[in-house]
Subunit: 268 residues, 2 copies
């Protein structure tokens, strides 16, 4: 299974000004491809902090490392400087990235969105990539994404604006993810128990989980209240959809039987 870590960058996240929805979207996307997101971290626009997180992930030998945020034109957009420094590589003007930035501003100027297409220093900044990196075209914004293929790790830097991040992942990054994840699959099933007391469910889930060590079983704690439904999800990743579905089906059946035996109702 492909191991993944995410680094979300931006003071606004740690001020609580902006809710980081990118990380959750990336987690859902990678999980759906059969990947295993092990950890995600939110850090400030602080070069040493970003460098420390990148180095930590590389030392853990993670296969895919994704950063979000900090690719823009302002001085506090520090991600690529941090990536370069973490890898001990220089930042260099990337001609393909510069062509992408140029095209974007020509298009925006022609449409009247910006006053001119000049390659000012603030615009050129977005085309300075760590040596050896490839730009990933940004279909809805100015800052290209960045791809670096390292020995063990594929490092991808994405912009923090959600629409731009999603457009790169579902567009130019897609073939790279397919190559990385291969035919990985993820399946999830749900059982709704008519019960509001997790302490009653706990020993039952524990026994079922022991009989199905490969399947990941999780119950969702709800606030005590008038809702007497409890969501239990069962999930499994791997390469062979048939065997995954068979294992999940078996665990679901076992769980439903165990709940019924404990006189806990089930939603059909």
């Amino acid at each position: 299974m492909v191991t993944i870590e995410i680094i979300a960058i931006g003071n606004e996240l740690l001020l609580g000004d902006t809710l980081d929805t990118n990380t959750s979207w990336l987690c859902r996307t990678f999980t759906g491809l059969g990947g295993h997101v092990e950890r995600a971290v939110l850090v400030r626009d602080d070069r040493p902090a970003i460098i420390r997180e990148i180095r930590g992930a590389l030392e853990r030998g993670v296969q895919l490392l994704v950063t979000s945020g900090g690719l823009g034109p302002t001085d506090d957009d520090l991600t690529l400087q941090a990536v370069a420094e973490a890898l001990e590589r220089p930042l260099v003007l990337n001609e393909r990235a510069l062509a992408l930035v140029r095209e974007t501003y020509e298009r925006l100027a022609a449409a009247g969105y910006v006053t001119n297409a000049q390659l000012t220093e603030s615009r050129v900044k977005m085309a300075r990539l760590p040596q050896g990196a490839e730009p990933l075209e940004n279909p809805v914004g100015a800052a290209p994404g960045v791809l670096l293929r390292l020995d063990r790790t594929t490092l991808v830097s994405l912009p923090g604006v959600p629409a731009e991040l999603k457009a790169i992942v579902t567009g130019p990054l897609r073939p790279i993810l397919q190559e990385l994840f291969g035919a990985g699959v993820f399946r999830q099933r749900e059982v709704i128990a008519l019960c509001r007391d997790e302490t009653v469910l706990a020993p039952i889930l524990s026994e079922v989980a022991e009989r199905h060590p490969e399947v990941y079983i999780k119950s969702r704690a709800r606030e005590f209240g008038p809702d007497i439904r409890f969501r239990i999800t069962l999930s499994l990743s791997g390469r062979d959809p048939t065997s995954i579905e068979a294992k999940l089906e078996e665990a679901v059946r076992d769980l439903r039987d165990a709940l019924r035996q404990a006189h806990i109702g089930l939603e059909a």
Copy 2:
């Protein structure tokens, strides 16, 4: 300024099944008290991973370390075991925590929400705390929060259900936070620039920021589109509200002047 780190625990966060809104709420709350959240990390229900994050934060000497999630009755609720192991302390049955758990189930049984008030192993589990910890009453759920006062760090473990987390922070944790944060304050001002091109704003913001090194100035990138407003926030934390407000006012005035000189419109 009080330094803070947050550890959010739960596989559902890294599967992308559940959006972690707790971290953002905690960040906003602590920032509003004048604190400085340096980092937040999302990890799986995996004891070694949780231990590694706790130890890292303690080594960095953070003053407040908050964990969310993993306090419940199920086997994959591992937070307190991880805290105990990270601190090399045993988990012990805490009599005050047990009294809180007992009261909760007595109340729930009396109200007919649960079938009985027996102290089953799944319920008692929520009262096993790391040695030296104090429970924090959970006004809306069963699992108490946990407070540990260490040499340099105040460590607080909160449940992952948002209503429970918020009720503990705004209830029993409030006096502890007040003691820790003292009279810290945070102030933020906003300037709306009628401009959609961040590359034009970048050099202006950079100059203004250089003239006001204490003030944190951030522009919000928006997708290119029909919206021509750009949000710029200026913020500052400290102890003296009068001097903070004066410094912010000065920076806001300077920024508005610089934008006007560059013929960028301002929203009143």
